[in-house]
């Protein structure tokens, strides 16, 4: 923790009701370049608000978010957001734009040359494992997993160094979810991305991230590697982190007994 952090959330607080209650308070998180941080917690724990503070979809009441030492408030919001990929809960593709247009939107906003955009769309479809013909389809013709792959492709289209993901795989069936998740983890490494992912699924956090922050009531209860968090003195954190392991063991035990149901 001694080296300067690439993404630095410093003592940030945000209230949506004029100070009566705080969605996040005193949140401080640092993440080195190339890190993969999962923010876990129940609904209302403040994890999505924390994520949105990074690309200024939410502005803090107190505190500051810095990227590479520069406060995010110093860059105007649209410009900042064009340099940060964002993958949405519920996908958030533009229904009136074709898959190719969806993927190419941020490069287009950045003023890339059309030929360059077309080439990039083709490259990204390959990267997320979708056929080239999908470029001319509308999003409503895609399955959930395909749509989320497009959403990932859109997020990384303008070659951002940072990708933010809000419950990215929550709406997918378990098999697809695992496949898209693993595919993203591979991209994260190949493209040297710095990723912050919000999820309520601890298992997913453990499988994909190398750093986990546990939030509750707008505060960070604990953070560290999965292994570090298992030994956390806060019993609720320890219990939360132990759950995936316990589940895995139970599943293994059930499979081993092989008594069957039929």
């Amino acid at each position: 923790m001694g080296q300067p952090h690439f993404i630095e959330i410093a003592k940030v607080a945000k209230s949506f009701d004029g100070g009566a209650t705080f969605a996040v308070r005193d949140v401080t998180i640092g993440l080195p370049a190339g890190g993969f941080l999962a923010v876990v917690g129940t609904s209302g724990s403040g994890k999505t608000t924390t994520l949105k503070l990074i690309n200024r979809l939410v502005e803090p009441d107190r505190g500051e978010v810095r990227i590479d030492g520069v406060p995010v408030g110093a860059t105007d919001a649209p410009t900042l957001r064009r340099s940060i990929g964002y993958v949405f809960q519920g996908i958030g593709l533009f229904p009136h734009m074709k898959v190719g247009e969806n993927i190419g939107i941020t490069p287009q906003l950045l003023g890339w040359a059309p030929t360059e955009i077309t080439a990039r769309i083709a490259e990204l479809l390959d990267l997320v494992g979708l056929p080239q013909s999908y470029a001319s389809r509308f999003p409503d013709a895609l399955s959930g997993g395909e749509a989320q792959r497009v959403s990932v492709a859109r997020a990384i289209a303008a070659r951002p160094r940072i990708v933010l993901m809000d419950e990215p795989f929550g709406a997918l069936d378990p098999v697809t979810r695992d496949a898209v998740g693993q595919a993203y983890r591979t991209l994260h490494e190949r493209l040297s991305l710095t990723t912050v992912m919000v999820t309520h699924d601890v298992q997913e956090a453990v499988l994909l991230a190398d750093q986990i922050a546990v939030m509750s009531g707008g505060r960070v209860l604990a953070r560290g590697t999965p292994r570090e968090l298992m030994g956390n003195p806060d019993p609720s954190v320890a219990a939360l982190m132990a759950m995936p392991k316990r589940q895995a063991e139970r599943i293994a035990a059930l499979m081993a007994r092989d008594n069957g149901y039929g």
Partner: protein, 516 residues
């Protein structure tokens, strides 16, 4: 029958062109105002309710009243613009119609645009800002395209309303397809009425379907449909407007009130103008009060009015001097106060008179209005739409202490039906009306001379006061129209069978008066 259809068809290019121009302009203006306003209302929720309530309120005003209200408003404004910028706004015709129809079209455009823009999926809106769009880019790249089907549906509704309501603009002197309907209703020319309705309906359906194509294109994200719809729309408007570009250079605007005699006389004036090589545009179906003000402000160039009407309504006089004195005083007063030229009397009178069926009058022993006053408590009085609010009625009522059991107002045509069927016992007849003799009515005498003279007089606007061509065209009419000929001409148009058009009646009148 067939020739009435022919004459309706002959008028179609001009009427349709003007109707298309008016409704297209009103709709375009409605969209140009409505869309930005809707965007403003979406951004500022506090303004939304008052603005939508105001638009709904406008919608509750009957179309005809809304159109009529713009006339005095523009007349007032034109005094200002004349004082400030040296030009007068036209208070009659295109401008008031355009403004009223634009206001009318706003509600569906506003309501749908606001609903469309506020009903967008918040996740998509957040995505738009998260990929780095500015507020403006979000509006044009995401919000408007996604709301487009709902917005288009609103524009479609507005288009159909506007096309329908544009027929009412005839009443404020704007030629439209409504001319068929207004003229047809007045002269009981049902061919005209049906023809007008059918053309308006066909036009509205065509526009609705074309806009529907664009709407479907927006919904199904099919650019081809949108383009086809837009091209058909633009081509239709351009094609419809072609006849307007061919209009003649010397055109005079001839006003007419809303009854057959006025239509015939307007046609007669048009004939005279044509003989001088000029053309006439008719502003028909104007109300009595509107038509004189329109002339005084040179919105129309000439029309025929009646001395007693101007005497009481414009000069606010309650005395009833004999005809010659009245004409003399009117001529100088109108010239002095309004700059209007009273060219001279046509030679017949169209006085307000009270008429009864001959048998009924005989049975009750009524031959004068004084006799009528004694029986009025048991009788029903049928009037035209404006009589009861005119000063002549007040004078008559006060002079004879008339107090009827019931009073009903009709359009002139239906008023004659009412006395025929017995729904009315006494009606306000016009002395030049051919139906008096034809229906066996008797005109009650006016022993107290409560009703002034109503000599038909030719009036010319201040702008055309010294126009030699107009004077040459109109002078031959002075003193040439005998009341019997006028009655015959009126009856040709008003009778139930074997009706003729006002144009044919005007030709008859011209021949009878020995005009070329």
């Amino acid at each position: 029958m067939d020739d009435r259809f022919q004459s309706a068809l002959a008028l179609l290019p001009d009427y349709l062109a003007r109707h298309v121009l008016l409704s297209a302009a009103a709709l375009a203006l409605g969209v140009a105002i409505g869309l930005p306003l809707a965007i403003l209302l979406v951004r500022h929720a506090r303004l939304r309710w008052p603005a939508l309530a105001a638009a709904s309120f406008v919608q509750t005003i009957p179309g005809l009243a809304l159109l009529a209200l713009f006339y005095p408003l523009l007349l007032g404004l034109s005094v200002f613009t004349k004082a400030l910028f040296g030009f007068a706004l036209p208070a009659l015709g295109f401008l008031p119609s355009l403004l009223a129809l634009t206001l009318y079209s706003l509600l569906p455009i506003l309501r749908n645009a606001v609903a469309g823009l506020t009903g967008l999926d918040p996740a998509v809106m957040e995505a738009a800002s998260a990929v780095g769009m500015t507020t403006r880019q979000q509006l044009f790249r995401v919000e408007l395209p996604l709301a487009a089907p709902v917005i288009m549906a609103g524009i479609r509704t507005a288009a159909v309303w506007t096309i329908g309501a544009a027929t009412l603009s005839t009443a404020v002197g704007q030629t439209s397809l409504g001319n068929y309907i207004f003229t047809g209703l007045q002269t009981e020319n049902w061919i005209y009425v049906l023809f007008g309705c059918a053309v308006v309906a066909a036009f509205a359906i065509a526009v609705d379907q074309t806009l529907g194509l664009i709407e479907a294109g927006a919904t199904r994200r099919s650019a081809a449909r949108i383009w086809i719809g837009a091209v058909v729309m633009a081509a239709g408007v351009v094609a419809a407007l072609v006849p307007l570009s061919a209009s003649s250079s010397r055109t005079y605007l001839i006003g007419a009130k809303n009854f057959s005699e006025q239509f015939i006389l307007a046609e007669l004036i048009a004939r005279q103008l044509a003989a001088e090589g000029a053309s006439a545009e008719r502003k028909e179906g104007l109300g009595s009060a509107v038509v004189f003000r329109a002339l005084a402000s040179s919105d129309i160039d000439a029309y025929v009015d009646y001395s007693g009407t101007l005497w009481a309504n414009v000069l606010s006089r309650t005395d009833t001097p004999e005809s010659g004195v009245m004409l003399k005083e009117l001529t100088s007063a109108l010239a002095e106060r309004f700059g209007v030229v009273l060219l001279g009397p046509l030679g017949f009178e169209n006085a307000y008179a009270l008429a009864m069926r001959r048998e009924r009058a005989a049975a009750l022993g009524i031959s004068s209005i004084a006799d009528l006053a004694r029986h009025a408590g048991g009788l029903t009085f049928g009037t035209d739409l404006e009589f009861l609010s005119r000063p002549e009625w007040k004078a008559l009522r006060d002079a004879y202490h008339l107090n009827f059991q019931a009073q009903r107002s009709y359009t002139p045509t239906f008023m004659y039906r009412a006395i025929d069927s017995g729904d009315a016992d006494v009606i306000t007849a016009f002395s030049s009306d051919g139906r008096i003799a034809a229906q066996g009515l008797v005109v009650l005498t006016d022993p107290l001379h409560a009703i002034p003279s109503y000599d038909a007089i030719l009036l010319v606007s201040p702008k055309r006061a010294n126009d030699p061509l107009l004077a040459r065209a109109l002078q031959p009419l002075i003193g040439k129209i005998a009341v019997e000929r006028m009655r015959e001409a009126n009856f040709m148009v008003d009778r139930d069978t074997d009706k003729t058009t006002p144009q044919e009646a005007a030709s008859f009148l011209a021949r009878a008066a020995g005009l070329p």
